[in-house]
Point group: C2
Amino acid sequence: MIRLLLVHDDYLLRCALRSLLTSAEDIDVVAASSRDVAHEAARRPADLVLLDVDCPGFSALAGMGKPQPWDGMARSGLVVIAPTGRPGLLHRAFEARALGYVSKDAPPERLLDAIRRVAQGSRYVDDALAPDFLSAARMPLTPRELNVLSLAADGASVSEIAGTLWLAEGTVRNYLAAIIRKTGARNRVDAIRISRHAGWV
Amino acid sequence: MIRLLLVHDDYLLRCALRSLLTSAEDIDVVAASSRDVAHEAARRPADLVLLDVDCPGFSALAGMGKPQPWDGMARSGLVVIAPTGRPGLLHRAFEARALGYVSKDAPPERLLDAIRRVAQGSRYVDDALAPDFLSAARMPLTPRELNVLSLAADGASVSEIAGTLWLAEGTVRNYLAAIIRKTGARNRVDAIRISRHAGWV
């Protein structure tokens, strides 16, 4: 029996995914929102965590390098459901040490397959997500540029970004120019739009 | 028997919602993506359409005033699933003549309730969405300002917006200043961020 902790922020979709998974007789599902995942993991031991990387709660949960509720799990595994075309989200899931990756557009059998494989200690990557893994590996922005871009995307001005990162305003402008060039954007707003869509910021 | 056309862009979530709905014995579910909804509606007559307004396909489908696949349906109805805190999406669902509104965070019973009520010719609004309906009614931007903001959000510069809308650049700048003031934003990027989050653009 695979004990699965299913994490989704929306109760209705959590119930829907749970209803889909309970058709499999070898999977025992406990569901929780991102807010309660650590608490739920401590209360009821699980083998695996399944989560949707498209939920706002995922970014809060999966800070780079942070210890995660799934790190200490018996069969130790995180399986994620991810939309296609958003390599930044896959990159974050990878940083959070996910072992299984399933497209949101996959048939349910593929999700069950991924869960069973990761429970056996293997990895699983959905073919439909392979191009996004390639884009993720080729991400052109440096960590510093991503930093600048995140602040800009939150609505900070050049002088606010300069103040936050202890940089000269001219340096921030240079970073922004590099970001616009590397993302193939028309201007700053366009660079934010492109990077946000890809899931980088 | 209520014949329901379930519309969701992601196959996995479509299957999950379908699995949730088939537990109700009075509902017969046919599922489709937004791309195929008109085709599916023509092929198999349905009483109701259920769709997730958070899918990219919804915006393409629900252009203001456009004829919709659900307009000619027997019991004629559209029920939507909507996230809280995004009044712009509710507004678009309203323009698309939705009769039932259920929060993504609702228990499954509430969704079944909404489907049954709309099938009987009533309206249904989830309590959890009431504050968003109030915000939608109080939306401060004029249609022209929304137009300018949409173009800006797609990465168009002031001169490109001016060219597209046949306006002077100074007029576009005035619109943008009014938008920033009315949305309580710090600058243009911030106004786009706020309005996009609310679902207005």
